[in-house]
Amino acid sequence: MSRTRFRLAGATIALMLAAVAGCSGGEGVDVDGNDAAGAGGVLNAAIGGEPDQLDPHKTSAYYSFQVLENVFDTLVEPDANLEMKPALATGWTTSDDQLTWTFTLREGVKFSDGSPLTAEDVVYSYNRIIDEKLNNAYKFGTVKSIEASDPKTVVVTLNAPTPNLLANLGGFKGVAIVQKANVESGEITTKPVGSGPFAVENYSSGDSIRLVRNDNYWGEKPKLDGVRFTFVSDPTVALQNLRGGEVHWTDNLPPQQVPALLDGDDPTVRSVPSTDYWYLALNQARKPYDDVNVRRAIAFALDREAITKAAKFGLATVNQAAIPQNSAFYYEYAPYTHDVNQARQLLDQAGVSGLSMDLMVTSEYPETVTAAQVIASQLEAVGITVKIRTLDFAQWLDEQGAGKFDAFMLGWLGNIDPDEFYYAQHHSDGTFNFHEYANPNVDRLLDQARTETDQAARKQQYDQVAKQIVDDASYIYLYNPDVAQGWSKQVSGYEVRTDRAIRFRDVALAR
């Protein structure tokens, strides 16, 4: 009897093994079937999540801009040092009163479908953002009108001098020049048409986005035939894909492994200091955080080195102000040395003891969760009990908007001009001033610097702002993180950028 039973089971198991063996016959490396001789190949890039949509004016997701950086153009664009350089515009002049900017467009620029890109397209794109009140409308706050005086000339008229107009018009692809027909057909959400080095060929929801070289591109022709973006949210899996050769490039690396990866040469992993900053904000509408001494006490109680080590595995530079060293607006100021006694003294002065602080962090940014634990243990040493609240980002934003927090930790990413982040976060009318900081002196300086056309004077005004914000501990700045990306040995010509823009136009793939 037993023999028969085992034969029955054995047959089934054999069948199963055969099925599994059959499955393992799949090949590893896949270059998408584009094996034409002399072709540049298709680069497989793994990004950490899926774009919500591909309309550059309507998305706010970084995943979207990772793709769109390669598809669209702006009038000007930041170079490696984040200085604005010609892109679609070859040059520009400003009137003496600084209220009229005249841009000259490049000759013969075409969209990827072959239709010409003219001044009318620029006017259409900007007016779309302004009239429909799209995400980046705030960047056009001082713009009175935009006109095309001829097919090659765009005239921007302003209500007030705007020294950072170029950064507003070219800082990132959220203000890209789009095609009217593409917008009106609704195709822009999945099949946008731009004038950049690549064009979107196919968007397969949940799976991948395929770009092909844009043969109508005005700049130097890209060497690659195309780029295929896949969405791999787990960094361990993304790294495995890179090592296994299925992926040639990824920015989704497990942070704890980056230090070791930087020492190796396959895959190549590079990191550069980014322009982002991460900070702790205390709710000044709540007691006792309205007291500057309490805020300063917390600033003294923090050991930024330890926080950075835990949250970023050392891949960050501690900073007590917002702006990183490599920026033209950097202001060296670090009054808070880690000093428990000083912190205790300040708390005593404020008459605060046995304080319990609610700290809100988000699982969307795991580094805030890790950092919060270190912050909690450091504040415990000065007698503050921290209650960490970890929320998903949607709920986090809700609580922030409603002012329901004692403290939160967050970052501000891709910064170029200080007007944007200082004004939004520290002006009493700022759109992101949820911690309700108000200092008339800072308000005045921010208003002044916003329209100051003398660069040296403007820098000085922002230096004063920076100092005052740190002294008031409006935000308690922690660090500027590095941006780390990795690519396989086959990839050449790629540079990691401090603003996290992903540009594949100069990249080649050895095969």
Binding site: M16, N135, Y138, S205, D234, Q240, N241, A394, E420, T431
Partner: protein
């Protein structure tokens, strides 16, 4: 039979209507403002109001619901708040990936669970039986995402046999589909197999103690005939239910596994929609999953009658 099916379909429609109400109301209770999530951190108040109005979120709830229902009846599940694309298309294009993963996982689970369950029931107390119990204990206790990562590290990292993640449509390239589906399906399948093995074993044991089994053996039938015709067939009834429930729940998308393996199915869609508070997509996905669940249950009821003539469909 036809009347039974029609009646069940009508009942299903009522259940689906209930699902829309519950999902719609539940979403209102979930904290998190979709407009703020969509805008990110940089915007001005006018932009906020404009987007809120465009998405119809400024309308009263009742208006929003009936508007949704009216369009849903015509097959239009609305427009994704985030991507601006029709929800019906978004949900349906994710179906093949989830279907192929769920079916493969269940087949894989059955291939393990049937021999293991049968053998450990027939040879209860044997080494195989003990091994089977250890296996199923392991399968239900170890978290599937951990098993998935271990699978990736072993089969993709160390051995290099399988790609670590990604998806190729079955219709596009069956070979590459198989190599991509193997790891996620095995991960999900192991859990299902553990549950199934236990059920098959206990169900078989129950039937094995029946008088007619002894009679069958006594009249000299071969073991294979007794096991396959008399025991297995009778033991299958509860097993069919478990397989169906497992399949139905897998059709709802295996969220963690789909996210881990970058598998473009319903589970991952749901996950992304929750994070973005994309209500229309979430409603559409839940509605589809509920519909699939009802369909599978209907098929099970019909299958019962085929398996056991004592059960009649009225």
């Amino acid at each position: 039979m036809a009347r039974f099916v029609i009646r069940r379909l009508l009942q299903s429609a009522v259940v689906l209507l209930g699902v829309t109400v519950v999902v719609f109301l539940l979403l209102q209770l979930v904290p998190g403002d979709p407009v703020r999530v969509a805008l990110g951190t940089r915007f001005d108040p006018q932009t906020y109001e404009a987007l809120r109005a465009r998405a119809g979120l400024d309308q009263p709830l009742v208006v929003q619901y009936f508007d949704y229902l009216r369009r849903a009846l015509t097959g239009d599940l609305g427009v994704s708040f985030r991507s601006g694309r029709p929800v019906t298309a978004i949900v349906l294009e994710r179906l093949p990936a989830t279907l192929s993963l769920a079916v493969t996982a269940v087949v894989f689970a059955m291939l393990i669970a049937f021999p293991l369950g049968i053998v450990s029931a027939i040879r209860s107390g044997s080494l195989v039986d003990h091994a089977a119990r250890v296996f199923s204990q392991f399968g239900v206790s170890v978290p599937d995402f951990w098993m998935g990562i271990m699978g990736i590290l072993l089969f993709s990292g160390v051995l290099g046999w399988l790609p670590p993640s990604g998806y190729v449509a079955l219709t596009e390239d069956p070979g590459r589909w198989a190599s991509h589906v193997a790891l996620p399906a095995a991960t999900v399948g192991l859990v299902t197999a553990s549950i199934l093995t236990r059920f098959i074993r206990s169900s078989m044991l129950e039937v094995l103690s029946e008088d007619y089994v002894r009679t069958a053996e006594a009249k000299g039938l071969r073991t294979r005939v007794v096991v396959l015709r008399h025991v297995l067939r009778n033991a299958l009834i509860p097993v069919v239910t478990v397989v169906a429930v497992q399949l139905a729940s897998l059709l709802g998308g295996v969220i963690v596994i789909e996210v881990l393996f970058a598998w473009p199915g319903i589970g991952r869609l749901t996950y992304d929609a929750v994070a973005a508070r994309d209500y229309p997509v979430l409603q559409g996905a839940v509605l589809l999953v509920a519909a699939l669940f009802l369909l599978v249950n209907l098929l099970v009821d019909v299958l019962y009658a085929r398996l056991d003539p004592r059960i009649t469909v009225k």
